[in-house]
């Protein structure tokens, strides 16, 4: 008769151990990848290449920061591609460029980020007002963003000549481009929002148990809209950064970022079901993805194999990271 009580007591410590293992998984995978590639390729372990890896991770880190907040709520965001496209073209047309006479400098950059935030907010509003699942609203908003970008593009590539924005990609501080420092600042800001603000705490709570939160008298809807707006602002900044890198506003600027950012977040340990993970987890995921891309080229894997090999490693990494969680579920059952 006493056995059930004993079971409960003995089961308690196990989830904690599982949680700590799960948190360490992606970090260990990243360390393993770095060590492995360093052993296989002398070029990989040069400081120039490690700086190159961090530079290459910059835009993806910022975009992933945004998508992480949405994933924490248990929603999904497929709008990054379209939002980045719109803000990339917008910023190219607002700063000094070859298409028109505008020369707004940092105001132009701010406007492009606000455009991103606006599109993100639109996703959130459609979600809470019309009760359309985020999968569909964000897909729609992505198409709207691409449409806006195509209209602004108007057949002629806008090339930027704004010195400040071009310097983001070329000027270096402590060996890293300004873009990388901006990305680091974004991760730090994202982590602060997640850790210290009501918005961040509620994002976790919405992902964990939205009904409980609503029943305890919290109005959930404004926070959801705010999270999508925040995510949109991160995508908008990502678009500005891509434009700085490429020296031109491209409609295709955001292609690939929707899924690579979600992949990075999940690889880092942010769950698609919400409530678990966070900005720092996702940042580790971003680094893991970028190290893989860079390392496979450095060790000389044939381009015909790279896509498949990279996919395989990602699947194994996610499976390994989720293993302790599965164990925990079995104990709880």
């Amino acid at each position: 008769m006493t056995s059930p009580a004993e079971d409960v007591v003995s089961a308690r410590p196990r989830p904690r151990r599982g949680v700590s293992l799960r948190n360490a998984g992606p970090g260990l995978a990243l360390a393993a990848a770095v060590v492995l590639f360093s052993l296989l390729s002398p070029q990989f372990r040069t400081t120039a290449n490690l700086a190159n890896v961090l530079d290459a991770a910059a835009v993806l880190a910022v975009v992933t920061c945004g998508v992480t907040f949405v994933l924490l709520m248990g929603s999904i965001d497929l709008s990054a591609t379209g939002v980045i496209a719109a803000s990339a073209i917008a910023v190219a047309l607002l700063v000094e460029n070859n298409r028109n006479d505008s020369d707004l400098g940092y105001v132009g950059i701010l406007l492009a980020v606000l455009l991103g935030a606006g599109l993100g907010g639109l996703s959130g509003l459609l979600l809470v007002a019309l009760k359309v699942p985020s999968f569909m609203t964000t897909l729609g908003v992505s198409a709207i963003g691409l449409g806006v970008a195509t209209l602004m593009f108007n057949g002629v590539q806008p090339n930027i000549s704004d010195a400040a924005l071009e310097a983001w990609a070329t000027d270096r501080f402590l060996g890293l481009t300004l873009l990388t420092w901006i990305a680091a600042a974004c991760v730090l800001a994202g982590w602060s929002i997640q850790r210290w603000t009501r918005l961040g705490r509620y994002a976790y709570a919405i992902g964990g148990a939205e009904e409980v939160l609503a029943l305890s008298g919290v109005r959930v809807a404004p926070y959801k809209v705010a999270v999508f707006t925040l995510a949109g602002a991160f995508y908008g900044l990502g678009g500005v950064m891509v434009t700085s890198q490429l020296g031109a506003g491209l409609v295709q600027a955001g292609s690939g970022y929707t899924f690579s950012s979600i992949t990075a977040a999940v690889v880092g340990g942010t769950l698609l079901t919400g409530g678990r993970g966070g900005v720092l987890h996702s940042a580790v995921g971003v680094l893991l993805i970028v190290v893989l891309t860079n390392g496979l080229v450095q060790v000389g894997v044939s381009p015909y194999w790279q896509g498949g090999v990279q996919g395989l490693i990602v699947v194994v990494a996610v499976a390994a990271a989720a293993l302790p969680l599965r164990h925990r579920n079995q104990v709880v059952k």
Partner: protein
């Protein structure tokens, strides 16, 4: 057992359905006869339609502009269609256009992929619309077997890949290491162009291929890949061969960010930014297929046949599917291409087949 068998059954059912559907769509490719008599259209009754993937890349936008220029020259208007690179959307647009009055309809189409060409051709044949296709066509599908499919034209990627390979060899003085950025690996364009580079490498023995990677025709991926390859091979890199100009421009950005100005870069497509770069001396060479001409020529061929100014009997069989002439652009001749002037004489009915460079093999 109960739980595992259900998904298995669903999967099995779906696969059977998929196989059955594939079978159905293959049997429906037999085409019908033609509608109105060819060449009986009043010039004012001709409808001109140009269809490309999207207007958000300069090349395809210039294609439609060329179509507009031709349409204006004969007092008509071109209907500009774009399908965002989605095959289903393209087929839907074609069906809508063919549902209207089709007896004097002229279509100049860029099929999304090889597999999209057959339904377009069959639809146009049944409706009696005049059709010219460009770039994509499965090898076993020939305009000779169709009444209203006037011609298919494309460009020899092997030739252009070799042209820029040779230009690159010349730019680096015949000696030194190069890296190659390939396009989307499973496309014919990427394969042919890279085969051209290999042919060029065989001739220019001093030029060594240090590394080949794919950047999927994307400027952004090219930027990252080039940066990585520059750290990998360092000063050994004297030249960069890319399968299109977007990747060439990405490579140029990477070189600029790495502070390298001693590396020659070549691409294909002649997008405006690449021409500017060639004019500035930052880039070595590109190849032009002449987008505005492509946009006009398909409509011109259809218009000439529809109005009877050109009889299909006079068109040689080897001109029905052909490689069109393409142009290597270096700093010697870049000025002629920076502001492309559409020469309407190219679109006169006697001249529409003037740029045939050879039959499609």
């Amino acid at each position: 057992m109960k739980f595992t068998s259900r998904p298995a059954a669903v999967l099995l059912g779906l696969s059977v359905a998929a196989v059955a559907l594939t079978g159905c769509s293959e049997t429906s490719t037999a085409s019908g006869g033609s509608a109105a008599e060819a060449g009986s259209c009043d010039p004012a009754d001709v409808t001109l339609v140009g269809q490309v993937r999207n207007e958000s890349n300069p090349y395809e936008a210039s294609w439609l502009d060329g179509g507009d220029a031709f349409a204006e020259s004969v007092g008509l208007e071109q209907q500009r269609l774009t399908y965002d690179g989605e095959s289903t959307k393209q087929q839907e647009q074609i069906r809508q256009v063919l549902a209207g009055d089709t007896s004097c309809l002229v279509l100049n189409v860029l099929p999304n992929g090889d597999a999209d060409t057959a339904p377009i051709v069959n639809g146009a044949d049944e409706a009696g619309a005049y059709l010219v296709t460009q770039w994509n066509k499965p090898a076993d599908l020939s305009p000779l077997d169709h009444d209203r499919w006037i011609a298919h034209l494309t460009y020899n990627g092997e030739e252009s890949g070799k042209q820029i390979g040779d230009a690159l060899a010349e730019a680096i003085g015949g000696e030194g290491g190069i890296i190659a950025l390939q396009g989307v690996l499973d496309t014919a364009a990427a394969k042919d162009r890279f085969a051209g580079l290999e042919a060029s490498l065989a001739e220019n023995t001093g030029m060594e291929l240090l590394d080949e990677q794919t950047a999927n025709f994307s400027r952004q991926e090219a930027l990252t890949v080039t940066k990585t390859l520059l750290t990998k091979h360092g000063d050994a890199v004297k030249g960069i061969w890319t399968a299109n100009d977007d990747m060439a421009l990405g490579a140029l950005e990477a070189l600029e960010q790495a502070g390298r100005d001693d590396v020659a870069v070549v691409g294909i497509d002649a997008v405006p930014d690449a021409l500017t770069a060639i004019g500035d001396g930052r880039m070595t060479a590109t190849v032009s297929s002449d987008g505005p001409w492509q946009g006009g020529i398909g409509l011109a061929m259809g218009y000439c046949v529809a109005t009877g100014e050109l009889s299909m009997d006079d068109v040689a069989d080897e001109d029905r599917a052909f490689y069109a002439e393409q142009f290597l652009i270096t700093d010697d001749n870049v000025d002629e291409f920076v502001n492309p002037e559409i020469d309407l004489a190219d679109f006169e009915c006697d001249n529409v087949f003037d740029r045939v460079a050879g039959p499609l093999s």
